[in-house]
Subunit: 380 residues, 2 copies
């Protein structure tokens, strides 16, 4: 994949951190538990319009972070959605003010199970309370209040990010005019849960997980976390994409067979597992993936009542080779939204790359986003 | 799934063991290495005809064993293909003599990496030589020689078993009149290899694997082996079958959420992982799965020359919801066999159950097998 052919990068950026909740005034979770303090890492790109009407909020996927675009000092690669965000890009920073934050429970600057529990002075570990999709939204809204942003032109996210946008649009539709939900789900299948369950078991059964006290014990469940990532990574790619990229190629032509890295695809997975250890925390993996398992907003009574009263315009996108969250997941969201009479555009995009397509440059995908965002910008 | 509606079980059976190769006259492997002694566990069902013309040879899948049909003393369930084998069943023991053996490298009575290395007096561990699909065939042939069986009416197997049958038919077509290859592959895809690679990594990265010396050290890589099994098991079932069986059902209705077994599908996977530990060996998993990765018989020069000179009649079956070895795998075998002008029947069966369908009772599946086997029996 080449970079987007459009203009430019947002250049050097820095992650900010805001303390949105304190120990004295903690965050109240949907479960009734509280957490405080809560710090949130975020980045912004572009310029807030004087009337504050040009804001796009980005929600990241399971293992994403606030660094969606541009470059940090020393970065080898730009932010994870850099191909989409920048001057002239579909999320055009010449026109829009873009906010991207690390999710509650994460491990990239926002408070999560690896943060220090003020009650003990040690990392929370499994003492961190269970989270709900609604809690992510609560924290996103607190960040917006902190930034003095009363309204979003667009809330936008892929995979778990799209699930946050769905939740947000259903519970606080007044916050936004448009919602873009990409490669997401309103309800995981048994197979989706099964893959996440095995990933979590790899982590929790690793002796170095130590019941979640690994930070205090100076260990890390590297084996379990890398196994979890390798397995999940297979589900993020289509079978054809793996075939096209690696086929049955040997890692070293003519090498003797064994139980190491014989095939190129094994080397790729190994690499994915290893680099993941440098940037992600095992407990965050547990907490965030579990939120996805339990998410099922349309099972609530009259789930669309608020958004019907205060309509949001939806864009729903899926990818034809995505077998992690197939188009059937998006069609379920579409059915609910259409039945409620809400304005919605749905498109199944053709892409060979599976679930990860939402992170990649695809001309039809980017053109669809660009058209929707442009129109949102014009009617704002 | 109910049992097959046809008649009966073969009743009580016992696994036999034959020493087919000794330390002095060891088995010569395709790699040039040798192993000896080699013991092979096998069972037979039915009666060998005086002219020895009624033999069907069963090849098992990755984690199967010789106990394909009937009951051992104390069994809670019959052999793994009992629904197919018995008086009146598609592999009718009133007419056919059926031989089923545990594969070389296995852990259910046949010599494998868990067997004692006569050179050290300890388990082979990783000193066991790497295997090739051809080695399985060599041992099957030795067993037939031991049993005084000069020729097979049918060689038949599913998944890895079907791969053995393919190999056997290509290299020693004179051994058989018919070959039945079910839910198999002539060449794993990158995704197939990827899933097996992660399963192996879960095993080899388990500290209790101890470089394969776990038997000598009195440990067992239970965590890695159960993770491997749980992950693989997801790939053996279709997404729809998992949904139909478990959906998003809670394991205990109304229980508090957590990181344990909240969903019924998690309980099922946990059970699959646990019971697997009682019957399977981690090193066998490595050795046998690696043979599958490397199998690619049609990449050899003129791979069908022998079978064209000595035609075998093929039955190739796939299941429409099998995403482990999709119908595309069977179609590749079909293309080679058809291009060579060999007699072949192919059928894609409809079944909701995915790869595991080959082990289950499906009327169309069993009827297809029965018809092919009956015709083979008539023309013998």
């Amino acid at each position: 994949m080449s970079d987007d052919d459009s203009d430019g990068s947002v250049g050097l950026v820095e992650t900010q951190t805001a303390r949105l909740f304190s120990a004295e005034k903690p965050l109240a979770l949907a479960s009734g538990a509280t957490v405080g303090p809560v710090d949130v890492a975020y980045e912004t790109y572009g310029t807030l319009a004087p009337d504050r009407s040009n804001v796009i909020y980005i929600c990241h996927a399971l293992t994403g972070d606030a660094h969606a675009a541009g470059w940090h000092e020393g970065d080898r690669r730009p932010g994870w959605w850099d191909n989409l965000i920048g001057p002239g890009r579909p999320l055009d920073t010449d026109r829009f003010f873009i906010v991207s934050s690390n999710i509650l429970g994460g491990c990239r600057g926002t408070t999560g199970p690896g943060s220090t529990n003020p009650a003990t002075g040690e990392a929370y570990g499994m003492e961190f309370p269970l989270l709900d999709m609604a809690d992510f939204v609560t924290v996103h809204r607190a960040l917006l209040a902190h930034l003095g942003i009363p309204h979003l032109l667009i809330a936008l996210g892929g995979s778990l990010g799209g699930m946050q946008v769905l939740e947000w649009s259903l519970t606080y539709p007044h916050d936004m005019s448009h919602a873009v939900i990409i490669a997401a789900s309103s309800r995981l299948t048994a197979q989706n849960i099964a893959f996440s369950a095995v990933a979590r078991r790899a982590i929790t059964d690793d002796p170095n997980f130590a019941g979640g006290r690994y930070a205090a014990e100076g260990t890390n469940p590297d084996v379990g976390l890398s196994i979890a990532r390798m397995m999940a990574h297979i589900t993020y790619m289509s079978e054809d994409a793996l075939t096209a990229k690696f086929g049955r190629n040997a890692q070293i032509e003519g090498a003797d067979p064994g139980f190491g890295i014989d095939f190129a695809v094994e080397s790729y997975l190994d690499h994915q597992g290893q680099v993941f250890l440098e940037r992600f925390d095992a407990l965050s993996y547990l907490y965030l993936s579990r939120v996805m398992d339990y998410f099922d907003p349309f099972s609530r009574p009259d789930p669309l009542a608020r958004v019907v009263a205060d309509p949001v315009r939806y864009l729903l996108l899926s990818f034809d080779t995505d077998w992690r969250f197939s188009t059937a997941h998006t069609l379920r969201i579409l059915a609910h939204v259409e039945r409620a009479g809400l304005p919605v555009t749905f498109r199944e995009l053709r892409s060979p790359y599976g679930h990860d397509s939402f992170l990649l440059v695809d001309p039809a995908y980017h053109a669809t986003l660009r058209a929707f965002v442009d129109r949102a910008g014009e009617v704002r």
